[in-house]
Amino acid sequence: MSVTSTSPSDTRPGRTTDPALRGPVARPGSRLLHRMVWLRLSLLLSAPLAWMVLVYVVALAALLITSLWSVDSLSSEIDRSWTLDNFRTLLESEVYRNVTLRTLGVAAAVTVVDVAIALPIAFYMAKVASPRARRMLVVAVLTPLWASYLVKVFSWRVVLSEGGLAEWTGLGSPGYGLTAVVITQAYIWLPYVILPIFAALERVPDSLLEAAGDLGAPTGMVLRSVVLPLLVPGIVAGAIFSFSLTMGDYITVNIVGGASQMLGNLVFINAGAANNLPLAAAIAMIPIVVMLVLLSAIRRTGALDNL
C-alpha cells in the first residue's frame, strides 16, 4: 500500500482517520520512544532479557556461590562461609583430573563416531534421496527421539549383557564399560548430529555441484573443496550437541558404564547421595568452563558466523 493512500479502509496504527483513536496521548508516547532509543530497546528486550537472566545468569551465579560453601560432615548442614576448599580439592586430587579427562575422551569419541555416521546419512538424505524418501528418512531419524531416554539405555544394557543381542551377532559384546558408554551415547545423540548437517547440506545448491563437475573436478575434490567447507557450520553445530550432551550425562554411565564414572556421576553422587552440594556445584563448573573455552575457540575459527 502506498504511503499517499487515503483510503478509509486503511487501518494501520497511526494512520487511522478516527480522531478518537489518534488521541493526543499516543503522540507524546511514541515521540518519547522515538527519541529515547535506550527506552525503546529496553522495553522491547526486557521480557526476554529477564527470562535469560533468571534462567542462566542467576542459576550460574547461584552455582558459583554454592561452590564456595562447604558442608558439615555429620549433619550435612551447609556452612555458608566462603572458602576455596572445593576448588582446591578439584585441583589437587588426581581422581577429579582423571575423571575430567575420561569424560572429555568419551565426549570426543562419541562426537567423532556420530559425525562419521551422520555425514553419509545426511548427504544421502539431502542430495541423493527422492523428496518422498527424504521425508521418510527425516521421520526415521526423528523417531528414536519419541522413545524415552531410559528405555533406550536399558535396551542397550540388555543388548550388551552377557548372552545378549551383541553376542548373537558373532562380533562379541564389549561388556559394560567405557566402550558401552560410547556406543550407547552415540546412538542416543545421533539425531541431534544428523539434523544440523542435513540442514546445512540442503542449503548447498545443486547447481554448485554441477558447476564443479562441469569444470572437471572429480567427486572427491567436489566433496572436499566445495561441500565440506559449506558443511562446517552444520558439523560444528552437531558436534557441539553431542559433545556437550555427553559431557553432562550420568544416566548412561550409571546403567552401562560398569565401574567407570564420569563428571555427571560425581555431580550426582555429591548432590544426590553424599549431600555435598557445594562440591557438586564446584564439579559442575568443570563442564561449563570446558564448553566456554571450546565455544570461544570455535568462534575464533569463524565456524559459528553462519549459524
Binding site: 532509543v37 549433619s75 581422581v95 544426590g272 555435598n276
Partner: protein, 393 residues
Amino acid sequence: MKNTLRKGRVATACLALVSVSVLSACGSSDDDKKTEAVEKVGKTEGKVSILAWPGYVEDGSNDPAVDWVSAFEKDTGCEVTSKVYGTSDEALNLAKSGEYDVIAASGDLSLRLIASNEAQEINTDLVPNYANVYDFLKDTEWNSVDGKNYGVPHGYGANLLMFNKKNFAEAPTSWGAVFEKDQLAANKGKVTAYDSPIYIADAALYLMKTQPDLGIENPYALDQDQLDAAVALLKEQRQYVGEYWSDYLKEVQAFETGDSVVGTTWQVIKNSIENPDVDVTLPTEGATAWNDTWMLSSQAKNPNCAYKWMDYILSPEANAQATEYFGEAPNSPEACAQTTDPKHCETFHAGDEEYAKQLWFWRTPIEKCLDGRTDVQCTNYAQWTEAWTEIKG
C-alpha cells in the same frame, strides 16, 4: 548502544546479587521443624508418606502376593504413598526435602538425621506394639541421643556374599572371594560391590580378621592408617569389579544374566533372582549389617497417620511379613511366631544377641572413635565419601 549494554550489565549483576542473597536467606529456616515428642495421637490425616528401603512398604504392585500396606490402609484410612531409596546418603537428601512423614533408617543414617534436626523424638507410649520388641534393639546407640528415643526398631540383617555356583568349584565361605587377588582373578570383571562409602567398612571388617596387626577393633572406627589400608584393599578389588550396584534391580539383572557372579547382596535381592545357580552365604568373618528403625520426620505433615504406621509395622503380623520378605530378623518373638517359614527366625538368628554381636551394624563414622580410642582421631564420613570417589577412580 555501548551505553545500553553497560547499563544492562550492571542491572544483570544487581539482579544476580539480589537473587543470590534471597537464595541464601531462605532455605535455612528451621521454623517448621518439630523435634520434641507429641503427647497424644490425634485425628488421622487420611494419608501418610513413607521413605524406606525397597521391600519395606509393599502394596502388591510389585508382586500381588506381597502386600501388607492395603490392610493398613483399610484399618486406619491412611492412604500410603512411598518412595524407595538405594543408599542411606540418598535417603538423607530425600528426608531433608520434608516430603516424608516416616523414614526407615539404618544405623549409618539415623544419627545423621538426628544431628541435622530431621528427626522427631518418638513417644513410644503411643506405639503400643513397641512393648513386644526385643529389649536389645531398643534405645541403641544409633536411635537414641541423650536418653531420647528417635526410632522404633524394625528388623536387622546382614550384608551377605552372593555368588554364582557355576563360577566356583566350591562354594565360597570367606570374604576372601571378593578381596583376595588369587580368588578374584578367576572372575575378573564380574565382581560387584555395594556402591556407597559405607562399603569401606566391609573391607575394614575383612582386614580386622585377616590383618590383626592393623589393630582394627571396629570397622566404623578407622584412624587414617587403617582407612588407608582399607582403601588400598578396595583399590585392588576395583581392578576386578565389573560394576558397582546401588540400584538393587541392577544387581538382580546382572546376576540373572551372569554379568556379575560374586559380590555383596541382601537376602531380598537373592529372593528376586530366578537363576537357580545364584546362592548366598554369611561368610565366616561375619558381615556388616543393618539395624533399621522407623523414624518420624521433624517436618511430618501427617504425624498422626505416621504414628499409626509405626505401630502397624511393628505389629507381629506386619513385621513378620515385611522382615521375612526382605530377609532379615524380625523385631519381636511374637513376629517370629507369625512367619510363613517356621524356620525363618532360626535362619536369621532373630533375638540371638550373641549372633547379633557377630554383625557389625552400620554406624556413621565420626571423628570421635566409636571403639572408644581417645589417643587418635578417627576418620569421618566426609573422608569416607572422598575415599570412595577415589577408589572408584
